[in-house]
Symmetry: D3
Subunit: 243 residues, 6 copies
Amino acid sequence: MAGGLFEFVPQDRRGIGAAMSGIVVQNIERARPEVVDGLGECGVATVHEAQGRTGLLRSFMRPIQAGARIAGSAVTISAPPGDNWMVHVAIEQLKEGDILVLAPTSPCEDGYFGDLLATSAMARGCRGLVIEAGVRDVRDLNRMGFPVWSKSVFAQGTVKATLGSVNVPIVCAGALIHPGDVIVADDDGVCVVARADAASVLEKARAREANEESKRQRLSAGELGLDIYDMRGKLEAMGLKYV
Amino acid sequence: MAGGLFEFVPQDRRGIGAAMSGIVVQNIERARPEVVDGLGECGVATVHEAQGRTGLLRSFMRPIQAGARIAGSAVTISAPPGDNWMVHVAIEQLKEGDILVLAPTSPCEDGYFGDLLATSAMARGCRGLVIEAGVRDVRDLNRMGFPVWSKSVFAQGTVKATLGSVNVPIVCAGALIHPGDVIVADDDGVCVVARADAASVLEKARAREANEESKRQRLSAGELGLDIYDMRGKLEAMGLKYV
Amino acid sequence: MAGGLFEFVPQDRRGIGAAMSGIVVQNIERARPEVVDGLGECGVATVHEAQGRTGLLRSFMRPIQAGARIAGSAVTISAPPGDNWMVHVAIEQLKEGDILVLAPTSPCEDGYFGDLLATSAMARGCRGLVIEAGVRDVRDLNRMGFPVWSKSVFAQGTVKATLGSVNVPIVCAGALIHPGDVIVADDDGVCVVARADAASVLEKARAREANEESKRQRLSAGELGLDIYDMRGKLEAMGLKYV
Amino acid sequence: MAGGLFEFVPQDRRGIGAAMSGIVVQNIERARPEVVDGLGECGVATVHEAQGRTGLLRSFMRPIQAGARIAGSAVTISAPPGDNWMVHVAIEQLKEGDILVLAPTSPCEDGYFGDLLATSAMARGCRGLVIEAGVRDVRDLNRMGFPVWSKSVFAQGTVKATLGSVNVPIVCAGALIHPGDVIVADDDGVCVVARADAASVLEKARAREANEESKRQRLSAGELGLDIYDMRGKLEAMGLKYV
Amino acid sequence: MAGGLFEFVPQDRRGIGAAMSGIVVQNIERARPEVVDGLGECGVATVHEAQGRTGLLRSFMRPIQAGARIAGSAVTISAPPGDNWMVHVAIEQLKEGDILVLAPTSPCEDGYFGDLLATSAMARGCRGLVIEAGVRDVRDLNRMGFPVWSKSVFAQGTVKATLGSVNVPIVCAGALIHPGDVIVADDDGVCVVARADAASVLEKARAREANEESKRQRLSAGELGLDIYDMRGKLEAMGLKYV
Amino acid sequence: MAGGLFEFVPQDRRGIGAAMSGIVVQNIERARPEVVDGLGECGVATVHEAQGRTGLLRSFMRPIQAGARIAGSAVTISAPPGDNWMVHVAIEQLKEGDILVLAPTSPCEDGYFGDLLATSAMARGCRGLVIEAGVRDVRDLNRMGFPVWSKSVFAQGTVKATLGSVNVPIVCAGALIHPGDVIVADDDGVCVVARADAASVLEKARAREANEESKRQRLSAGELGLDIYDMRGKLEAMGLKYV
């Protein structure tokens, strides 16, 4: 009686909890839009480095398109295998700038998502989908410009028979994602940034970019990393021999 | 004595039969061209739904090109691993609008098919290749506009030493395919429609498309699937809680 | 006592030797530029056939771009898992027309290589990278026109803590590669040609291409491989039955 | 003539048909017990050879126990992913000497089957389970002596929400299996023999065993296969060179 | 307010945080021994069901032995790929009844753990190892009776060059694990139970076992699940047809 | 100068050369028996460490038995996919204490080897088989006590149609193996030791074992690796924090 959310929090710590199935968390906090967009400009590799090489989803999460780079706030979905009912529930929770992130409760490559759901999600301001399962209608999704990172492309349909949850913490492709965390995705894959850390990670990512730009110019002019990073002495000390 | 075909039919039921190696079935029935083409217009995801979510090949069958969508009648090939002799035999059996479908008798990723075979197949009116093995010369195949769905791309060549069969039932990437069945393939993968069911499946697929179009417009306007499909009551009855 | 290189050769025969860790071989022999370039024009499938179907890397080595076809001399890198220090060392050894080829000493999919290293490698005349591990910044790499064949795309960074070796023989994706061997890579994958064999393989590859061109024209005109290659008699002798 | 079974047969030819979901075929024909048992004595490798190298399930189907060798008549199950309701339905159809064979309609590794279902199946005379998905309680299954060949071991449970079918043709691990076909399984994997062919395959398998026994004695005495099979001349003719 | 642990907690929420590398949490809470041991008696499948089908590690985590069933409190290790330095650090933190749980920060199959580390861990009262990477010396580990669940067996050694962390939350084989959580492992795989839930999960698991025992006896006597669970009406209502 | 063997050596350097197909090298050198046996006593993990962490085959090479540990001299086979003709040829080349090592020229999981070939090989003094492909009759092989390390178990048979080579250098499961090299195999996998290095590697392996024994006793008594290896200072210097 003390409120669903309050009870929810301590149970939340295991990521996918028994008590959480059948729950929709409606009000989630999000990072500030300019922070989200800034992280999107930096891209996955830079953001991942900037936050200490954490938060990366597994490399089997591949884009269905080439060249897209997005960032947004995670609206998370924990769904049973082969059941996309909760996607409909999640779409209602979307706000401008969000990204849907779905993890099945056991491994599945069925096509949870196609052009109709993308149409609906785009109408709600959704920027893309990250799904540790399959999608279909990829030709249409590409034409619509709706970017997706998925484990598979598979026309196999799903049912609507069992509850899951929306906006609970999930483990997606090996990364723990809380609702409202910032998702960054591009051709390199997908990275999650904890909402609370987003601003500081952005700062570090921009510093990193500035630093890289000067390095890029020196390397482009033919200078060697061995010299720029002053590696020769250390390599010799480690025993590297030139023959 | 009553003819090879008659003897063939009852043995046929196991898909890949001992008695069938070294057999070429010359006269196969095909679905009507307008039905085949209609199914091609609908695409894999819609056709697969329309026939009750059956007939889909495994998701590891990927296109070597983007954006192609074809349909055609299956000319099937059962080939030994690493041996593409039967592809030459099968090409003679091709008619305008056919698709070559090859399954090796044990798993293999060798490159059974390249630009020379594609040149020959195109000259016979072939629309594409579906192969649970490898292909090569993919740059040339793409330039020629010859679409392929395969398990792998691999330059490893094959020999011509052992017989297989042409136009016998095969299991390809987990789906049973009879010669003359309709193959539909696009970016979502590959689906087979039994020849006898092709017309009725097309009808259902078109009905489905019409229905989807109206849904698409409502979803695009911001209406929710929760309301369009009237899901709220059922979700509540199942115990979904909003917190 | 007679010099590092002399001692090196007999130990070399095991490919990745204990004695070789921490060694950089500075002067390697390369094939003549016109031979290397000629092999590049022929492409992987033709070169692989021309040298007796040998030297092909495993099919999991996929390009991050479409349509690129390159050839170059291998500058090899044996690197610890998750450690890209030796890439910096290797870049200094690059000459115009070289290709970096990296094999980790145990399986790894981390992103060893990104846009900064590509900038540096391009400034030294490097034509591309072949890596049995991961790369990142693939959007930038594609924009720069730096071609890569890799096992994975993964933003996971690497450290610079442990020595490896440069220009020692390596086993990369199942193929033995010596420094100075010719690497050919295109949409079909990657093939290695031993430096000493490069000229003779090129000759055979060109003969093969000439022969294929005449076949292509006959096949394009509708003639069958069964007739061009005179297969009918042999197939009948093997027992092929038309029903 | 208007009976369900008659209608069923022609639709049956695609293996997994739309019309078949929600169907239980109650009366299936089985091979004679002495034929089934004879095939079991021969084992998978011999039976597979005896029927012309056909009918083998993919190599990812592994036993959870060591040393078991069984044969039985297939009671087939086509089940939705993550839903084991049809296993209960199938158990009622079991007769003494049967083997349950389950294929999910899309790839799944959930644990469909555990010790309670095994208890029930054993009480009906079931000899084992072949499942292109997961099982659990494997310690108990081993103690009970109930043999299983599966794609995975996974404690993940299943639901009972959607219909499948029992005793319809299925494609399981790449092999087409009709109800009543003979299943042979041992440490080498799983093989299916078409019911109609079972007696003749047994005859060939026994002939093969007899022949092998004489070979085994000669080989054991140190005679070479090169001589027993008279291969030397052919190898020389093919160009084999001893150096 | 200045305490390390307090600061640690909020950062902890992302599981593997940048700020956490190089941290050893020394005092962790554990579940009561009789609860831990009770969960071990129930086994993975029952515990997993009892907590609502959550907490299961991926099915690629396989035992190196047969028949072992253990439970213990997790001492967690987040380690760089190919670097087992933190295992030594973690062993000091072990208490009687603990289980080591290691997740690498990027995918790795190297052999982090062998008989020397097992000797040390056993001397500290450790009950086993769960590792999303490789182990070696498995013959010795089996002789010593030290149970392991791992992703691979691989003799490839590791280095001691980079810091990780001990007793921080980790994602291991897809499951979020906090230090002090209860790990249950047997032939079915590995399951984690949140420390705070352990007692209530044990209660449910025991109720489940009691209930299963009565079912087992009825099923063993030949009664059908269709009747015991009263499924016939529901199946008929869903449209199941017997033909 | 005209000798076959002499010509062979320089071509040999690419491992699997075009010129080598159809060649049987009859007289190979082997390491001394006591060195081979000594390496076998040390086992894979120790030998692999002793030679600087080189020579290990990939982790997918798994034993079909538990507890076997062997060492022997490699008789190598390069075989076409699905063709085991060269195994018969290789058996004639076996001497007491040899191990057959087979690599297919393209990936294959067919069952190249069964109980008849094992009978023949054992009669020639063969100690086991290492094969980057499949085997069958594993129940018989286990009963006979013939140990095998393979990529798969698969009853699928092979043909005898195309030449390969015997006793040429091969790349097997990622490791370069020359005929006469020492193979060590046990539950941890398979390792190759170059013939010329065998004696010195044995010496290092034994030193390693002696050193490990003293460590084992200290660890068993509860002493920590942190203290034995004097790691505390270095960890603190690296920044490890205890909280």
